[in-house]
């Protein structure tokens, strides 16, 4: 009980901004982890990051136009995802280049919109919020919209689960099985846009990559079966996000009167989880080798 008191600083569970952060952050973590596993398997991590950077232009524009930032993030991410699928570049090098150029253009737009937001309106702190997130200032009214987006993204992935998995392993195999690979790509792209918009809303556009690929990478490192990888990724994402929120809340008492940014803690926890997953995977691999070596050793006796 005293340990719990030590972990959860007073008022954590009755704090309204914390409630909103837990809900929206949790939704973002689950969707990012699930979509992230497929994104990593498809080798589209960089595209995911670019999408997030481009979505920041939407977040910045929403400050300029006085819209709900989630709408801005989502609109721009969907536009970018659609553009990437439409361009349909197969050559890996070409695709990297296209992605990088698009990322730059997106951030350029962000700079422009943030500038206009600052000189024509009173969008104080828009830059930090858009790029690095500001979880405890998320208005509670966003919760239903955010959770609806999360459910929609998960439903889309669930609907194409099998073919998505096959095409992530081998596009040729999927094509041979009669899967419409481009349609699958399009649906995955949309889910990716949803995931990116949600995590941009929580940890900011720049850091949303961490939530997208970190837990997914940990899941893929630790498990061979996709179902298990997904479960581990979701768990990792949730622990990192909720743990980050808790640490940010507690940090208020480390440096009196000043809480540290939530995004920092989340990203650090994601990084640690990735390291830990690597360590565990190595230990497990050694275990497998030992197990493989032992029966033959036993057999000689």
């Amino acid at each position: 009980m005293r340990l719990l008191g030590l972990m959860f600083a007073p008022g954590f569970f009755s704090n309204a901004p914390v409630h909103t952060a837990l809900l929206v952050g949790g939704g973002a973590a689950v969707v990012s982890a699930v979509v992230g596993v497929f994104t990593v398997m498809r080798g589209q991590s960089f595209a995911g990051h670019a999408l997030a950077d481009v979505s920041s232009a939407g977040g910045a524009a929403s400050y300029l136009l006085g819209l709900n930032p989630l709408v801005g993030f989502l609109g721009m991410a969907a536009l970018a995802a659609g553009g990437m699928e439409w361009a349909d570049v197969r050559d890996a090098r070409e695709r990297d280049l296209l992605t990088g150029v698009m990322l730059g253009a997106g951030l350029g737009l962000t700079a422009l919109f943030l500038y206009f937001a600052a000189v024509t309106g009173s969008a104080t702190g828009a830059a930090i919020t858009v790029l690095f997130g500001s979880m405890f200032t998320i208005p509670a009214s966003i919760v239903p919209v955010a959770l609806a987006i999360a459910v929609a993204a998960l439903a889309a992935i669930a609907a194409i689960y099998r073919p998505l998995l096959v095409s992530a392993v081998s596009e040729d195999l999927a094509q041979a099985q009669g899967t419409r690979v481009r349609l699958i790509g399009l649906v995955h792209g949309s889910a990716l846009a949803f995931a990116v918009a949600l995590s941009a809303m929580t940890v900011g556009a720049i850091l949303s990559t961490a939530l997208l690929i970190g837990p997914a990478a940990a899941g893929l490192r630790l498990a061979d079966r996709p179902g298990r990888s997904l479960a581990i990724a979701v768990l990792t994402g949730l622990i990192a996000t909720w743990g980050g929120i808790l640490l940010a809340y507690d940090s208020y008492y480390w440096t009196p009167g000043r809480g540290w940014p939530v995004s920092f803690f989340i990203v650090v926890l994601v990084f640690l989880a990735y390291l830990l997953a690597g360590l565990l995977a190595r230990v497990r691999l050694r275990g497998v080798r030992l197990a493989a070596a032992q029966p033959s050793g036993c057999g000689q006796h």
Binding site: A118, G125, T137, I138, P139, Y249, R258
Partner: protein
């Protein structure tokens, strides 16, 4: 990147100023008030014999996010008197001035008042500030043009005297409503509230976080919300020029709980002089506390001194 741009920009400005040769400053003195409220005070002290320009004049934007243009740098470089707020509020001014050395007087208001660098920068809301500024401006102008010294001094005295109704309004409020608990989103009018004897219950780190656009602590956000939902304050003052979804949610919460809100200006609104502006803000505060009347925008009445 930003620093490199600034250097390039300063080089360009210096070249432009050097190329201009002599400015017509011998015939007309020119003075710049970085924030329009200072330009207003300079103009009242200097009268029509000095050309006065304000730089930050838009009451709809956040002055903390201001960026200077080459034209602004030029008018700064050629002015013989510059009044800046200081206290980290307009740091770009010193950079431009350093790039174009010349004979000019610079009044850093924060330093003039002897405030520590970390003080709340919105010092013009303190009734003691502008009298000191007027005096310093008169001294600087007198030094620049000794033949008009008596003229500047008498105008400065007249300006200080003209502030009496405002100071009386503050005193009256303090007598009637001293100790009134208030909430604020931002420290913009804190100096006025303190002078009027109000007790500001909003956590100061929250005010600073909103002012700087950084992440506020959830504890402070919850404390602020409790002030409003538990009716612990009589009024919520918010900075009209520093708004974000969080400040909007505070204003909304106050309204739902029947707590009057007062939108205060950070930059002098159009149609006002310093004195009429401060009187209007003080009366908006009084209206809120005495009659529960909200004021989100000051009327653009006739221009009065």
């Amino acid at each position: 990147m930003r620093r490199r741009l600034t250097v390039l920009f300063i080089l360009a400005v210096t070249a432009a100023v050097a190329g201009c040769g002599h400015s017509p400053r011998d015939s007309t003195l020119s003075a710049v008030g970085i924030e329009s409220q200072y330009a207003d005070v300079i103009a009242q002290v200097a009268g029509p014999r000095v050309r006065v320009r304000a730089i930050e004049t838009d009451p709809n934007t956040d002055p903390h996010a201001f960026e200077a243009s080459p034209a602004i740098a030029h008018s700064l470089a050629t002015a013989s008197l510059v009044v800046e707020n200081g206290l980290g509020y307009d740091p770009w001014v010193d950079r431009i001035l350093a790039a174009s050395p010349g004979a000019r007087t610079v009044i850093d208001v924060g330093r003039l008042l002897g405030l520590p660098a970390t003080a709340n920068p919105h010092v013009w809301y303190d009734p003691k500030t502008m009298p000191a500024v007027a005096e310093a401006v008169a001294a600087a102008l007198s030094a620049a043009r000794p033949s008009d010294a008596a003229y500047f001094q008498s105008r400065a005295r007249a300006f200080v005297a003209s502030l009496a109704p405002w100071q009386e309004a503050i005193e009256r409020f303090k007598r009637r409503y001293g100790g009134t608990a208030v909430a604020v989103t931002e420290p913009v009018a804190d100096d006025l509230l303190e002078a009027a004897g109000c007790t500001i219950l909003s956590p100061y780190p929250l005010q600073i976080a909103i002012m700087n656009g950084t992440d506020p602590a959830p504890q402070d956000v919850a404390a602020q919300e409790a002030l409003l939902s538990e009716h612990k304050v009589k009024v919520l003052l918010y900075n009209r020029q520093v708004t974000n979804p969080l400040t909007a949610s505070f204003v909304d919460l106050a309204r739902r709980n029947g707590i009057p809100v007062v939108g205060v200006y950070e930059t002098m609104p159009v149609g006002y002089h310093y004195r009429s502006w401060m009187l209007a803000e003080t009366s908006a505060l009084e209206q809120a506390v005495s009659h529960g009347i909200s004021t989100t925008q000051l009327g653009t009445g006739t221009l009065r001194p």
